[in-house]
Structures are given as C-alpha cells and as structure tokens.
Amino acid sequence: MLEALQFDFIQNALIAGLVASIICGIMGTLVVVNRIVFLSGGIAHAAYGGVGLAFYLKWPYLPCTMGFSFFAAMIMALVSHTAKHRADTIIGVIWAIGMAFGIIMIDITPGYNADLMSYLFGSILTVTRNDIYIMLIIALLMIILARLFYKELLAMSYDEEFAKTRGVPVVKIYFGLIGMLAITIVLLIQIVGLILVIALLTIPPFIAEKYVKSLFQMMVVSGLIGAVFTVTGLLISYQYNLTSGASIIMVSGIAFIFSLILDRVRIILRF
C-alpha cells in the first residue's frame, strides 16, 4: 500500500484531505455547537446554482460560485436570525431552488454537460498543487480568524443572549461566521464534493465533543479525527479501487456509528 505514496496525485489527494480536515475541524466545530448543520447543507446545495451560473456565463468558477453561495448564505443567515421558527423551511426552499437553478443553467448552456456526481462527491484525486495552495491560504485565514475572535465565538455559541448583555456584537459575529462558512464550503466542494464537506463538517466534531473540555480542543481533535478518516478512506479506495470521496464518508460513517455504540456501553458500564 505504501507504494501508492510515490504517485503525485495520491500525495496531492492526501495533502488536500489533511488541509480540508483542518478547515473542517475549525468550521465544523462552530457549525455543530451553533446547530447550523442544516444551514450548512443548504449553503452546500445552493452553491450548485453558482456552479451552473459560472458555466452558463462562462465566468471563472471560484469567484462566481463563492459570490452566489455567499449571497444565498446571507439570506439564510438573515432568516435564521430574524424568523427562527420558519428558518428550516426557508433554508430548505433556498437549498432546492439553488440546485434546480444550477441544473437548468447547465441544461441551457450549449455544448457542455457538467458531471453532477463530481460536485456531489468531488474528485480529490484530481486536485492540483494550485488548489492546495488556495486551501492552505484559506486554512491559515481560518486559524487567524478563529484565534482573533475566539472569545466572541465561544460566548455567542454557548449563550447568545448573555453574550449580548456583555456587549458582544453577536449579529456581526454570526453573519461573519456564516460568510466564512459559505467560502469554506465552496472551496471544499470543488475538491472533496458537497456530501463529503457535510460529513467532514459534522462527524468529527460530533465525536470530539464528548471527549474535550473546550472549543479549542474540539477544533484540534476534530481536525485530527478528520485527518484519520481522510487518510484511511483514501488508502481503502486505492487498495480496493473504490470511489475516494464515498470511501472517506463510509469510514466516517462507520466511526460515527461506533462512537454511538461506545456511548451506550459507557452508560451501561457506569451502572
């Protein structure tokens, strides 16, 4: 299996997977503790509208899709902040419209048919060095922002109302978080696909949450768990010639189920 490491595309895939794990460790932790998993799913799917638009207008993929997703994400943030009781419905609607819009855009784009599957599951094996550099820059930005606004993010995530009474600009921090989330998701969709993004955003933090004592530890441990899933999944996909993205998700999914069983066992043993 080690001979796989001599291939450039495997090396790139591993590096991309590790960097994606770091980004998802930070953002996923914030997504899970703020309970915005559904909103993240909404952004990821609505992003497909941006993909379609980029193809139709022949605009560059990354800025066009990021702009589109950012706009959709801001609407979702506005709705989830002002009309909480209707938020899930409206996010669901934007989710669906975004995808449908993207597919129709691609339909009416002459002479080209994008492969939907590559956006669902990504194509981590075709990642280029350039993609990796962009990811590294975003990862660095993420670490800096999380460091700068750690206290505010922690206070808002734990108890929004109390944070307001301490003068934390909760609304700005929330919109900032959603905006960064949109950028992260679009960047990672191109590389690992939107389903893997959601899996990496939610599963590692969910497992980490039970064993850590701070948000910071949760970010670090989630990143490590994500890295283990990514590497294991990639090696399995290489060994058995399976789709890489789906392999990583299956590894994560099995670990998720295991962690649930382990919880039950721990509860039973305590009695």
Partner: protein
C-alpha cells in the same frame, strides 16, 4: 441616584402592547421580586433593563446611564440553566465569559474568586454539562458577579432547584444583597422569599410595593411558626383568602 429608573415606558411587539406607562425606581440595596401572570410582561421588563430590547416610548436608566452603556453595572443570570449541556466548556471558562469586553486584567484570578464566592471553586475545571442544575446556576451567578455589577438580574432562578436547595439559594441571595441590588423575576405568583424587600407586580402595567407595604413583621405575624426557619418562603397574594397587599388602585 436609583439603580434602575424607568420613566413612562411603553413597549409593544408588533401591534400588541406588552407594557404600558411603566414607572419604576429601584433604590440601591433593594431586593425586588417581579411577579405577574405569564405573558404579563415580566421577561420583557427584564430585557428592557438589560438593553436587549428598546422601549417605543419613555426612558430607562441603569446606574444613571442607558442600559447599553451600563453593561458593567449589570449582572444577568438567565432562566434556562439546561441550555447546551453537551457544550465543551469548563465552569471557569463560563465564568470568564462574564469578563468579555471588560478590561480588568487578572481575569482568571477574578473568575476563580467569583467561583469561590459561590463555593464552586473546586468544580472550576469540570465540564459545565456534568454539574447539577443547582451547581450550574451557581456558576451562572458567578459569571454574572465576576464583572463586579451593582445590579443583579435573575430570571426565574428557582425553577431548576429543589425545595431544600431553594432555601439555601435565597440565603445566598440575601448575603449578596448586602452590597448588590437584586431584581428577581418569579413566575410563581404565590411563593416569595422573606428576604425580598419589595415586590413589583407586572401585568401590562407595573405596580411597585415597597418595603413598608410588605414588612417582615407583618408577614411573620401572619405566618408564624410552622414554616419558620426551614423554609424562608412566604405567601403574598392580592386576592383571597389572605390579603397581604392592598388591591391596586386603578390608574
């Protein structure tokens, strides 16, 4: 200067009037219980004092300043202590949240001192979700106290504590009341601690009953004996069978 000064305040959600013509002056060292029916505006009043809501009419001053500028003077203990129980945060870190945006230096030692005051210092490193409801509440009070407020606001603080715990809890508040003004919202119309010095009845309008109207001597006279020392909780009700307070005069 009163700690809380509310002048002719109106507040409505959309078209529904929640509070009307509210006037209130809370002097230093007061211990006010805010009572009233559900939907009567108690929580809205609290949020107005906290600066989370702004009245459509009238003015609110806390420690002589608008609430948004008096953040340091206010310590807030929210109602729900069961929120986010799986959240990875230690008791100490929760208390430190009370110091955000307040430059004091030596944050950690101050937070530890606040925990110690609540007799919770030995739990500083425990994950907040593993503490009992009553312990968590003490941590939340420490979080409210850590910024050295002049006014402590508590929303329905006894909901998560059992009867025995409530007696201890009120004794604790009495002690805090030595140097901090306390305003406590209670959803329970009948039970109010004997340590409470005044009562504000809120049902769209607000009626304030000061110490003279609910003197301890009067209450003890009416409820001497049985409830006595074990349970410092007494009855106050406007209606029958025991009328302790006069009916409100219709404005």
């Amino acid at each position: 200067m009163p700690v809380i000064e509310i002048n002719d305040c109106d507040f409505s959600f959309e078209k529904e009037t929640v509070l009307q013509d509210v006037n209130l002056q809370i002097p230093h060292g007061d211990f006010v219980a805010v009572i009233g029916p559900n939907g009567g505006g108690k929580t809205t009043l609290l949020k107005l004092i906290l600066g989370l809501l702004t009245p459509q009419k009238g003015s609110i001053l806390v420690d002589g300043k608008p609430p948004q500028k008096a953040l340091r003077a206010i310590g807030y203990v929210p109602q729900n202590v069961h929120v986010n129980r799986s959240f990875p945060v230690s008791a100490l870190d929760v208390v430190l949240m009370g110091m955000i945006n307040i430059d004091t230096g030596a944050d950690r030692s101050k937070a530890m001192a606040a925990l110690a005051r609540m007799e919770m210092d030995e739990y500083a490193d425990r994950k907040i979700g593993t503490l009992s409801g009553g312990q968590r509440q003490r941590v939340f009070i420490a979080r409210a106290l850590v910024s050295g407020p002049k006014l402590l606001l508590l929303d329905e603080p006894t909901a998560s504590i059992d009867a025995k715990g409530q007696a201890d809890f009120y004794r604790l508040l009495k002690e805090l009341n030595n140097d901090i003004t306390i305003l406590l919202v209670s959803h329970d119309l009948l039970l109010i601690s004997r340590y409470v010095k005044s009562v504000a009845c809120v049902n769209k309008q607000l009626y304030y009953h000061n110490q003279a109207e609910i003197t301890g001597a009067m209450l003890e006279h009416m409820y001497a004996g049985s409830t006595g020392e074990t349970c410092p909780v007494e009855l106050i009700a406007h209606g029958m069978p025991h009328r302790v307070l006069k009916h409100h005069e219709v404005k």
